[in-house]
Amino acid sequence: MSVTAPAIDAIPVRAVRTSRFDPSWLLWIAIIAVLLFLVVSPFVYLVITSFQTERTGDFTLSNYATAYGRARYVEALFNSLKLGAVSALLAGVFAVPLAWAVARTNMPGRGLTRMLVLATFITPPYTGAVAWILLAGPNAGWLNRFYMMATGAEAGPFNIYSFTGLAVVIALYSFPYIFIFTTAALELVSSEMEDAANILGAGPWRTMRKVTLPLALPAILGGMIICFLEAIALFGSPAMIAIPARFNVVTTQLFQFFGNPVRVEVAAAYAMPLLGVTILLVLVQRLIVRRKGFVALTGKGGERRPILLGRWRWVVFGYAMFVAALAVFLPYIFLIQSAFAKAWGRGFALDNITWANFHFILFEHATAAQSVINSFVYGGISATVAVFLTLGVAYIVARRLIPFGGVLGFLCVAPFVIPGVVLAIGFYAAYAPPPLALYGTALIMILAFTTRFLPVGYVNASAAINSLNPEMEEAVRVLGGSRLTALRRVVAPLLKRNMMGAWLLIFIPATRELSAAIFLYGPNTKVASVMIFDMSEEGNFERLAALALVLQVLTLPLLWIGQKALGRDFMLRRNVT
């Protein structure tokens, strides 16, 4: 007996027609226009402006003459390079042992260490700098006071207002980059490679020195370059520490060119070395990290067993806690003390405790509460725009929808080589003058944040799209759905998680952004980071600490959501950078 065909009425069909015009093209054209506006135009204006006479716009080289005409301007350039190098080395000293211990050994408290690195990572560098001013200010700093108490000496040995102080503070809040790179690399080193060294007679330490670390070396160097770049591009910490210490770095010098009167042409000319060094080092970093030959970093890596450290594991744990104490425990203890203190210098006395600082910044201060709202609104809009934009571009590139789509991808990652201050100067040059006259508006802040975080969005989006089998979309189309239907019904729902992750990875740093914001904010568009910076200039550390803590506390629920949806380490993965 045969199965009878079910009697199904004919389905009404659409007429077959050759359609040459695909409406999705309009979307692609719009994306190109947006990228030109966000990335290309500020960059082009930055370069052009550096060769223009103020007001008349005639070609000139005088901006460069001015920018490099004084010894102290040139000295600031070298200070930055020196600062970058010292900070990167110090960060390596903090990060590499921790990364190795967490990724490869049986050190106790590996999860705790990871958590503390994450806590470091989400602490804005300027908040760390403020905390360290409380800790290591020349006389009143807590560490100095404890030292004097313990030894009876007249003065303490620590002075944050010094080159070393600045380098340490920067290293303390940038070492997570190296940690992320190094753990990722070490997790790919197979135990068999270490076994091979062991069986030939090498002990655990020798194996680590001769086999494991060399295999992770490209990643370590790559992370250190990122730290270097972070250090030379940083504005907040140097402004808080270097200026009182009477030396300048590139970013603080740029800020002074931007002060009254604004000399954007000179600033543009002065920004060129920073831009050049960054581009160069990013290229070097890519070369190092992608270098073939380190098979361990490209293969699956095989099985991994933790190295048993024996009694040494407590020594290693001690070191991890020492780093954590410098980066997290001590700073937060004294930030909290200060935020709840009538006067932070009076210490932990009960009668020194008050809610007044929080009350002040949340309800009394004219703009503090608004600045927090601004940070979140601008960050939220920027993250949303960046996520959708980069998703669109990544899709176009991955599916080869237009010729030379790779150019769009390049534009999305290009802002990675533009330090925040330089980007801000470009935006100022491009969009502050008429006809757009965006200076001081919320829009210019949002646009600048969006551009700054495009690379993060793009790296995530393209990884997500490449994990989708194109046949999923082809199945939609062959059944009669358009490409946009495929995007709406299949691609978007499948990428929800990834998009949320990317959104958080942009939103969280965007709410702390200072280096671009400080150049672009207006009276009504102050963000929390700028507010904190202003308060530090006023020396108002109690209220500042309260505001900084509010910002941190508001981030916690987001972090929790991210960890629930995307896994505990979602912020500490390689693609964060």
Binding site: V16, S19, G480
Partner: protein
């Protein structure tokens, strides 16, 4: 009128010809396989039929209307075709029911009507009880059935299958072959099926197109393809075979260790080398000299393997250098080294290029 017509279709990437001069006509309701090794251009051809790729040359017509040429392509969503992909491409964000109903939704059928048709087709593929499940909860075979249901429920003009069974394990693959043929017998949808597995193609197809290096080698029904391969490639690709090379000497053709009258062999003319394909099953093996009309050749067993369903012998004709492969029933046992007689019907020798 033919349902689907491919005329001189070509696809070039720079100097590389992925598909060259491909012409094929499918009758309404016909099931045709594109068979060949990987990289032979079969999937490229299928994707051109689906409209995912424009051809570099030639045209594709459906129901007499041109749908693809180098200058323009009807996009896949307007071709009223369906396709089953190698990865199944079941959407993990939709349930089985939603997956199957998707095409009907696009065709703007009412909710009740969609439900009715989805249920009906899920009955056909025996998946009705899993309608509310998500694909991640399904086995490979079940996902395959969902893909089949999703493709068939829209009653496509043409159904395209791209190596649909290659991700299944061996037993399931064999089961699904018959399932695909059963569904075709039931719905009579014009079908193009791409595979590199000859038995899959033979079980399912009315006709098979054997492709090699972007070109068509032969188009024929499965039994013709096996019995009368036209080229060395086809003879070697479909089933196992012996290639024997001979040359005309007088009224005989001399092979390695044996000869045959030229008049009994097809295509035995000309001065050059003559290549013939001789299936291992077409050779008889016995201890006594056979009395039939075929060639009787004295030979020696040089090697043998037992494969359960048959014996695979290596037998060298006396005076020859290379052994021939001979398949016999599992009960026909000959020791290595023993003297035997081969029986070959000259008509079983197929001249190939």
């Amino acid at each position: 009128m033919s349902k689907l017509v491919l005329k001189n279709v070509a696809k070039r990437y720079g100097a590389f010809e992925a598909v060259a001069d491909f012409s094929l006509e499918l009758a309404q309701g016909e099931f045709v396989s594109l068979l060949g090794p990987s990289g032979c251009g079969k999937t490229t051809t299928l994707r051109m039929i689906a409209g995912f790729m424009p051809p570099s040359g030639g045209t594709i017509e459906m129901d007499g209307k041109q749908i693809s040429s180098a200058s323009g392509v009807v996009p896949p969503e307007h071709r009223r075709m369906s396709m089953i992909f190698q990865s199944y491409a079941i959407w993990p964000n939709m349930t089985v029911g939603e997956n199957v109903g998707f095409g009907l939704q696009i065709r703007k059928l009412s909710r009740a009507e969609i439900d009715r048709r989805v249920d009906k087709i899920l009955d056909v593929v025996q998946m009705r009880n899993l309608k509310g499940r998500y694909p991640a909860e399904l086995s490979g075979g079940q996902q395959q059935r969902v893909a089949l249901a999703r493709a068939i429920v829209v009653e496509p003009e043409v159904l395209l299958l791209d190596e649909p069974l290659s991700n299944l394990d061996a037993n399931l693959r064999e089961e699904m072959r018959f399932e695909i043929r059963r569904l075709h017998d039931e719905f009579r949808i014009t079908t193009v099926y791409v595979t590199h597995d000859q038995s899959e193609a033979m079980v399912t197809s009315d006709r098979i197109v054997v492709m090699n290096k972007g070109k068509i080698e032969q188009i024929d029904a499965p039994h013709v393809l096996y019995g009368r391969p036209k080229s060395r490639f086809v003879a070697g690709f479909i089933g196992r075979t012996n290639f024997v090379e001979g040359a005309l000497q007088g009224s005989d053709v001399r092979f390695d260790g044996f000869g045959a009258p030229a008049s009994a062999l097809e295509g035995a003319s000309g001065g050059g080398k003559l290549l013939y394909s001789l299936r291992p099953q077409a050779i008889g093996l016995s201890t006594q000299k056979p009395g039939g009309s075929g060639l009787a050749i004295e030979a020696e067993i040089v090697d043998r393997s037992y494969l359960g369903e048959y014996w695979d012998y290596q037998v060298r004709p006396q005076g020859g250098t290379k052994p021939l492969r001979v398949s016999t029933a599992p009960t026909a046992v000959f020791e290595v080294g023993s003297r035997v007689w081969l029986e070959i019907a000259p008509s079983a020798m197929v001249r190939v290029e």
